[in-house]
Amino acid sequence: MKREVYLDHAATTPLHPAVREVMLPYLGEKFGNPSSFHSIGKIVKDDVDTARARIAEILHARPDEILFTSGGTESDNLAILGYARKNQQEGKHLITTTIEHHAVLEAMIHLEKKEGFEVTYLEPDREGLISVDQVEKVLREDTILVSIMYANNEIGTIMPIADMGNMIQKWRDEHKRPFLKFHTDACQTPEYLDLDVEKLHVDMLTLNGSKMYGPKGMGLLYLKRGIKLQPLQFGGSQERALRPGTEHVAGIMGMAKSLELAQANREEESVRLAKLRDAFIEGIQSRISKTRLNGHPTKRLPNNVNISIMDIEGEAMILYLDAEGVYASTGSACTSASLDPSHVILALGLPYEVAHGSIRFSLGASTTEEDLAYVLEVLPPLVEKLRSISPVRVDEKYFV
């Protein structure tokens, strides 16, 4: 049988069996509505409360600071649109980066184009990093929100969120601008990084169940006490009426379990994957000429490998790999249905042909040394085949 190697964990992860286990009762006998007053509902409400408290504990937050949503996109939207709309009388300037996920970028663009906000988009350096100084330089009296991702989903660059948060907190105190808030999209990080919101000095933080071996269609927003949002949807009083609608109970239970597992194993798993990652990068670069590692060599998620293979086009490469049972992606899954090259790779100052040749392998819990050895065996001949039918020769200044 053909070997199958799933290397697209940044797109989504499989459900952890233990997570599935805790979800099952809520797809069966524990069907009650947490808002009901009878026992059937009360049992479920207690379980949701326990899950919320458990999540709060992991994030070093309070239970009432956790809002459950339908995923990373909704959490990002709720944080940005919700905060900006509710607090616009305090200022209409927002700060973000050019390499955010589309859930952040499109929300920002919407506010800019349709609702009269001004947005500053910070550009990363060649390795995909944004510095604390860069953020500080563009802060203004009318800035109300800074949103910067914890780690980039395409190139895995880890941003200095704690330092940024610290600086923003100081700036806020010195300038007496209590309405200046800091949001981070941390969807890619629970398996590997510290999510203590106190240490990170963040006011809002987005998480997504489907990137941490939890359920799809499930996310959360950490929202620091006292911050006011304008809801995106209206209805009952669930999630403090900021996100009304009957709770996705099975999802909430699964999310709590997956976050618990992720954070419990993160240090060990980071060490294991970083080792595999570095050997894999080394393996590709020693077997294939003309490649470029996109992103930072060390300030990088332990599971992310993003490489541009010159002279060939990423989509063709993905399809050839697919035929060999290797599942990777170009840029992010969200962009592979569009023809435009990755906005993240372009933001690194690289030309279109380099962006078009970028491939992302994202490792995960199931990834073994043998899996990667198999990829290293099948990849070079595929590259050679595609290069033999390509007329393009990318200038060497982009890969040496």
């Binding site: 989509e315 063709a316 050839y320 592979s336 023809l339 279109y352 078009h356 393009v392």
Partner: protein, 223 residues
């Protein structure tokens, strides 16, 4: 028309993307040409052995296509047609298919080859996802470019057909006619026209002109 149909679903391992499966799957014919491309230009082949060359696109737009053609001067039939492309699955499959179509059964005459339409290539492939239509347009253009090159080389300048249209974007070689077609097919915004034609993606300087043309044809046909 065939290129507007939903692509026929293949029988095994359809290639889809995570977010929008139905817009992406390739037919078995497309996959066969993609995985086993025919007639591509081998590394050891010599350009001098061919008597016509065509080129279109640029890697900046994600597609570049070069073709090398051997034309029998007696019969004006295409006896060999080789290519190289920097492109996606559809670009590789379309060009591979086109190379078979122009050389099979003793080869097309140059006149026959000129009558070949992107839609004909699409039909033989069993359809392409709609957003990949431009891939078959690209090989059609490279073929026309090569035919003109052949006539240029034998100095039959009267046989060179410069399309009665104006190139708007010299990088992607998109003409005002292409934009007109895109608008007719329902692309009424710059974004949609770019999706179909890739105009200006590697050459944003031409975009104001493109927007002007879109407006013109929108008013002409739908105004």
């Amino acid at each position: 028309m065939s290129h507007k149909q939903e692509p026929i679903k293949g029988t095994q391992g359809d290639v889809t993307t995570a977010d929008n499966a139905k817009s992406w799957f390739y037919t078995d014919v497309v996959k066969d040409h993609f995985f086993n491309p025919r007639n591509f230009m081998h590394a050891d082949a010599h350009e001098e052995d061919f008597n016509a060359i065509g080129k279109v696109g640029s890697p900046a737009c994600g597609d570049e296509l070069r073709v090398w053609m051997k034309v029998d001067p007696e019969t004006e039939r295409i006896t060999e047609f080789r290519w190289k492309t920097f492109g996606c699955g559809s670009a590789i499959a379309s060009t591979s298919m086109a190379s078979e179509m122009v050389t099979e059964n003793g080869g097309m005459t140059l006149d026959e080859a000129r009558a070949l339409k992107p839609q004909d290539i699409m039909e033989r492939l069993g359809g392409l996802p709609q957003r990949k239509f431009h891939c078959s347009v690209l090989c059609d253009k490279a073929l026309r470019d090569a035919i003109n090159d052949y006539y240029r080389r034998i100095e039959q300048f009267d046989k060179i057909i410069v399309e009665a249209s104006r190139i708007i974007d010299p990088v992607s070689k998109v003409t005002d006619k292409d934009i007109e077609e895109a608008v007719l097919e329902g692309a009424h915004t710059l974004e949609l026209v770019q999706q179909k034609t890739k105009v200006g993606i590697g050459n944003p300087g031409c975009l104001p002109a493109v927007e002007e043309i879109i407006r013109f044809y929108k008013e002409k046909y739908f105004g």
